[in-house]
């Protein structure tokens, strides 16, 4: 589905990603864990075309998407749920969702989006209840559901999620992650970037660990959970408690 080789990208003089390689197969949840500023978000933003790739290969579904415009990448089937959710506060829940289908509507103004809306509402009944409410009035968890729903409206083959747990209470995080897992079980492919490594590894099939813009480890979620470095750095187990 997604194949990345030797990817470099960054902002201005700053090179953030320094030769990153990874892949995501159809139907799996792959997570990228790493500390603050390690390049996780930059990676998703580069795949999405928001940040330009400076070097390397970016193959999505066999096609090279490096250098393509973000809307074309969405149209190709790769949607990003951005960090901080980026909900349009002054628009209703339904309007926010419809915006997610923008690239599809562009080519066909009479496209019927009812089915798409119904799918999202079936998945997140809370959004149906709040259909006419302004986005800005939703709780954090609801906004995250909305952001995911909006990305799904584009009918993506690959869904990329940037820190979906950010700012949410643990119980809400669990709900959101359960929904992400259901998405995978329904056949979706997901690339998940997360600081909450424990929550991410609980639902992911595989993962990569990124440090200062370079991959240092990969493996199944079980292997990463068993790795002492991961435990110390990302699961909050210090040297003392590791022997538990």
């Amino acid at each position: 589905m997604l194949k990345i080789r030797n990817l470099y990208s960054g902002y201005g003089d700053l090179t953030v990603l320094k030769g990153v390689s990874l892949h995501v197969d159809t139907g799996e949840i792959v997570t990228i864990i790493g500390g603050n500023g390690s390049g996780k978000s930059t990676l998703l933003r580069t795949v999405a075309g928001i940040v330009a790739a400076r070097e390397g290969e970016l193959l999505f579904d066999g096609a090279d998407i490096a250098g393509k415009r973000p809307e074309d990448i969405v149209a190709a089937g790769c949607s990003l749920v951005p960090e901080g959710r980026m909900i349009f506060d002054a628009m209703s829940v339904k309007e926010n969702l419809l915006l997610g289908a923008y690239t599809r509507l562009r080519g066909n103004r009479r496209l019927d989006l009812t089915a798409g809306l119904d799918t999202v509402f079936a998945m997140f009944p809370r959004l149906k209840e709040r259909e006419r409410q302004f986005g800005g009035t939703l709780s954090g968890g609801e906004q995250q559901m909305l952001a995911i729903g909006r990305a799904l409206m584009a009918g993506p083959k690959l869904l990329m999620l940037d820190e979906p747990s950010m700012g949410l209470a643990p119980i809400i995080v669990k709900q959101i992650f359960d929904e992400i897992k259901k998405l995978r079980d329904a056949g979706n492919t997901i690339l998940l970037v997360e600081q909450n490594a424990r929550a991410a590894l609980r639902i992911a099939d595989r993962g990569y660990v990124i440090e200062t813009g370079q991959m240092v480890l990969d493996g199944t979620s079980g292997e990463l959970l068993n790795n002492n470095d991961v435990q110390r750095a990302y699961l909050g187990k210090d040297y003392r408690s590791i022997s538990e």
């Binding site: 390689s21 990874l22 892949h23 991959m215 480890l217």
Partner: protein, 432 residues
Amino acid sequence: MIYNAKYETMNREELAQLQIERLQSTLNRVYRNVAFYRESFDRSRVDISSIKSVADMVRLPFTTKDDLRASYPYNMFAVPLRDIVRIHSTTGRTGRPIAIGYTRNDIAHWSELVARVLSAAGVTEHDFVQIAFDYNMFTGGFGLHYGAEKIGASVIPSSQSGNVQRQIHIMKDYKTTVLLSAPSYALRIAANLREMGIHPDELNLKIGIFGAEAWGEPTRSKIEERLHLDAFNIYGVNEMMGPGVSGECSEKKGLHINEDHYIIEIVDPATGNPLPHGEEGELVITTITREGFPLIRYRTGDMSSIMEGTCACGRTTLRMNRVSARSDDMVAVNGINVFPGQVCEVLKKETGFEPRYQIIIDEFEGGDSLEVRIEMIENMFGDEIKKILGLKTGIAAALEREIGVTARVTFVEPMALHKTPDGRVRRVVDNR
């Protein structure tokens, strides 16, 4: 049976992606965590971010046995010692030993890799697997044990120590179906069977999986004939965790390499230059999943080649030919590693000069016999038979003392030693 179809039948392009990802993260890890590699890469001016494909690996410096010896015991470990759950080591017979550290994940991978090579030879959960390899600092016993257990077979850890007849009693009583041992040990078992008057058909052996020594097709036929089983070859290296690097499938046409964990190159032992598929050279292995003791371009000293073409068994992994010899000509004689260099040292000490010599190994009554032939030169000892006889016993005693092997020492006429096609004396003639 294919144990892990996802990885053993992966298409080559996907495998290439997996290998480069794992190679890059291994390089990033060793550069950060192992002083030896940081210095080694910096010294050879290799920027690891310039390694963009497996083919770029040739730019990386080698890791040698001497590097590992110098790092003894822990300097090459890539994780804090508290993360290490197991330590094995080489014998150190030819120098300082090498300590090999494993994390919990390493042990899990090791089990998986061995399970694959055993499955390829046909081992299933219904088998009784007798492991006649030592369980000690050597990696063989434990590694094979984990793999067999992972498959779900009934594992009999009989070990190599103890007498052969007891081994045979276990084999008979427990109805062992799979024997795992060194090939020379299998022949000893066969010889003892005859002595004990047990016909191989009284046993239940189906499969024999042999490794830890270089052995050839003649030995395979002998073992199959005498033990009435199907014999398979496996390959491993202590420094690579142990068994599990590669193994034969039912086709018996080369050993399938576990390429999602090991990248294998063949290089010219003299120049270090990479050799194309099909050509024989030294096996160089890089680990790409290992946590505790990752090794980059490790010179194994084993001579082999990569085979061309795909295998009928359905696996897509590359195959290597059986290890024919070692770049240092080491041979195992009755389970003891003998280096020609050691023999040469003994000869120099005993004769006072460096004679032309040859080591000849034959199979003898289920074991190995070792002969050291020394070329006479004119006026070597005058004509004194007594002197020659004295020298013979002196050399034999010294070989026993210094290397631990019993050898027959003979003197031959000039030019009577076996030569290679280009006219050099072959240091080792292995007739097994």
